[in-house]
């Protein structure tokens, strides 16, 4: 999975050769999502000793246009988990409605049972895998953050193909390239998670959001961040501003628009 949602789910050109786009003209009566339209970029998350931190910026891009600048891409589920969405925003909104109706059904049908993050992740992975098997994918990559059945931190990823994996730190899209190496310095192994404090995890995520804002052209300096712990439940802040930016490094950039010294 790379930082271009347009490339997700397609055979890689470097492996399979150039892609034949002529299909796009056919007026098939059944319309499936063949490419994402309005997209969200990276989602980042880190596990720490008693919970998970997850963050995503508030931007929804239309190609290279920063189209919507106040889109919440962290969606809470039953006040115990957070799903962070990357990829197509309309598919995100569909999934959000789906999860809301699931939550309603769950709450009505019995007392004392509630789906934890692990259950939610399993459910979402089945939804995504079913849709890819119908060749009608939901064009997203998601991170599910919360606590599992034993109240241990839980963090796992699902994408449009139904692929799932879990790791102490995760990042989707551009973040998989830029942020993940930085986050792995915090916890590169499940055994290290117990040594990571909440403050350390938050700091690392905020630092990565900044790096991504520097380098990812489809990113924004306003973002959402959520902390999920057993004690505090879900603390979701949806309108944060990146702090402590330094653009001094820009002076040293050569190439691109700055080939000529002024």
């Amino acid at each position: 999975m790379n930082h271009l949602p347009q490339a997700w789910g397609r055979p890689r050109d470097d492996v399979y050769g150039p892609y034949d786009a002529s299909y796009l003209q056919s007026g098939h009566p059944q319309t499936h999502t063949k490419s994402p339209i309005v997209t969200g970029t990276s989602v980042l998350a880190v596990k720490f000793q008693d919970g998970v931190v997850i963050a995503a910026d508030n931007l929804a891009s239309y190609g290279s246009l920063a189209r919507f600048t106040d889109v919440k891409r962290l969606r809470p589920f039953n006040s115990k988990c957070i799903v962070g969405f990357g990829g197509d925003v309309s598919d995100m909104q569909y999934l959000d409605r789906l999860l809301n109706s699931l939550d309603v059904v769950e709450n009505y049908s019995s007392e004392g049972h509630s789906l934890n993050a692990k259950n939610l992740h399993t459910y979402l992975s089945k939804v995504m895998y079913k849709r890819r098997s119908e060749i009608n994918p939901l064009w997203n990559q998601m991170l599910v953050a919360g606590l599992d059945g034993d109240d241990k931190p839980f963090l796992s990823s699902i994408d449009l193909l139904g692929t799932t994996f879990s790791s102490p730190t995760l990042a989707t899209g551009f973040g998989a390239h830029l942020a993940q190496p930085l986050l792995r310095k915090v916890a590169d192994d499940e055994s290290k998670v117990a040594g990571v404090t909440k403050e350390r995890a938050i700091e690392a995520v905020k630092e990565c959001m900044k790096v991504l804002f520097y380098r990812d052209a489809r990113s924004l300096d306003r973002y959402s961040i959520a902390i999920i712990t057993k004690e505090g439940g879900v603390e979701l802040k949806e309108d944060e501003q990146l702090e402590g930016q330094s653009w001094a490094f820009a002076e040293t950039i050569r190439g691109y628009g700055r080939t000529q010294e002024v």
Partner: protein, 265 residues
């Protein structure tokens, strides 16, 4: 001869507001051999009296494990129970598949309740001729449920259904206060003794005719639940021994004589 005009189907009420087909279905439950279920704070047990239809035949299955965390005991039409148990097995597997969690008992019981109700309100359908005890453990702890052909379901602390089950219920009522804190072994013992109460005088519990199913919260911490364990045949011997031994001194109760034991169909 009197002919009841209101019992030809299950969708017509009698003028007295009764649905005879459903009541007849309940009779089928009373014809089945007795099954007992008890729940404590940590465990649930199902105990059943198996009958063989004839000397040459094998004994009927009375206790069925559905999933790791729960099982059922049946009284009445065994084939109807099989249909229901297959349905429950499918639902349990589906829950594992889609959410990765054991299906909540309350939920699966509501599902079979709804199914059974449908067949009391749709023309051309026949109510299930079987009563079930559903016992197991989920996230909210141990549970025991009773299910009747009418679609009625309710959670119980202890329950007995089937032929001559009144005697077992009397035993259960008498020992009600002991169940909540009973250990696994004590709970099995209570189950077997309650079952024994329902036996006709010429019968006794043997390794051939008794089945026991147990589920509970795990003691060892590695796993959360103790998988549903069915004791059948030789495995029942030590359980029977322990139960009957403890019962020897207080054998003051006299069992009511009368109808011979009924046989499952």
């Amino acid at each position: 001869m009197f002919r009841n005009n209101y019992d030809n189907d299950s969708v017509t009420f009698s003028p007295q507001g009764r649905i005879f087909q459903v009541e007849y279905a309940s009779e089928a439950v009373k014809q089945g051999s007795v099954v007992v279920g008890i729940a404590s704070k940590t465990h649930t047990v199902l105990v059943a009296l198996k009958r063989n239809a004839e000397e040459l035949s094998s004994y009927q299955k009375k206790v069925i494990g559905i999933d790791e965390h729960f099982g059922i005991a049946l009284a009445g039409l065994a084939s109807d129970a099989r249909v229901l148990s297959n349905f429950m097995k499918q639902q349990a597997l589906a829950s594992k598949m889609t959410y990765g969690r054991p299906i909540p008992l309350e939920r699966i019981v509501a599902q079979i309740g709804d199914r059974a109700q449908t067949s009391t309100q749709v023309y051309g359908k026949r109510p299930y001729g079987v009563g079930l005890l559903i016992a197991g453990v989920d996230e909210t702890g141990p549970h025991l449920f009773e299910f009747q052909p009418s679609g009625m379901t309710q959670e119980m602390i202890a329950c007995a259904i089937g032929a001559r089950s009144q005697m077992a219920r009397t035993y259960l009522e008498r020992h009600l206060d002991e169940f909540a804190d009973a250990s696994r072994d004590e709970l099995i013992k209570h189950g077997l003794l309650a079952l024994k109460e329902s036996l006709s005088q010429d019968k006794e519990l043997t390794v051939d005719n008794a089945s026991v199913g147990v589920t509970g919260l795990a003691q060892d911490g590695k796993r959360k639940i103790e998988s549903f364990k069915l004791y059948d045949g030789g495995e029942v011997a030590p359980l029977l021994e322990a139960a009957l031994e403890s019962a020897e001194p207080a054998s003051g109760d006299t069992t009511v004589e009368g109808e011979s034991m009924e046989v499952d169909t």
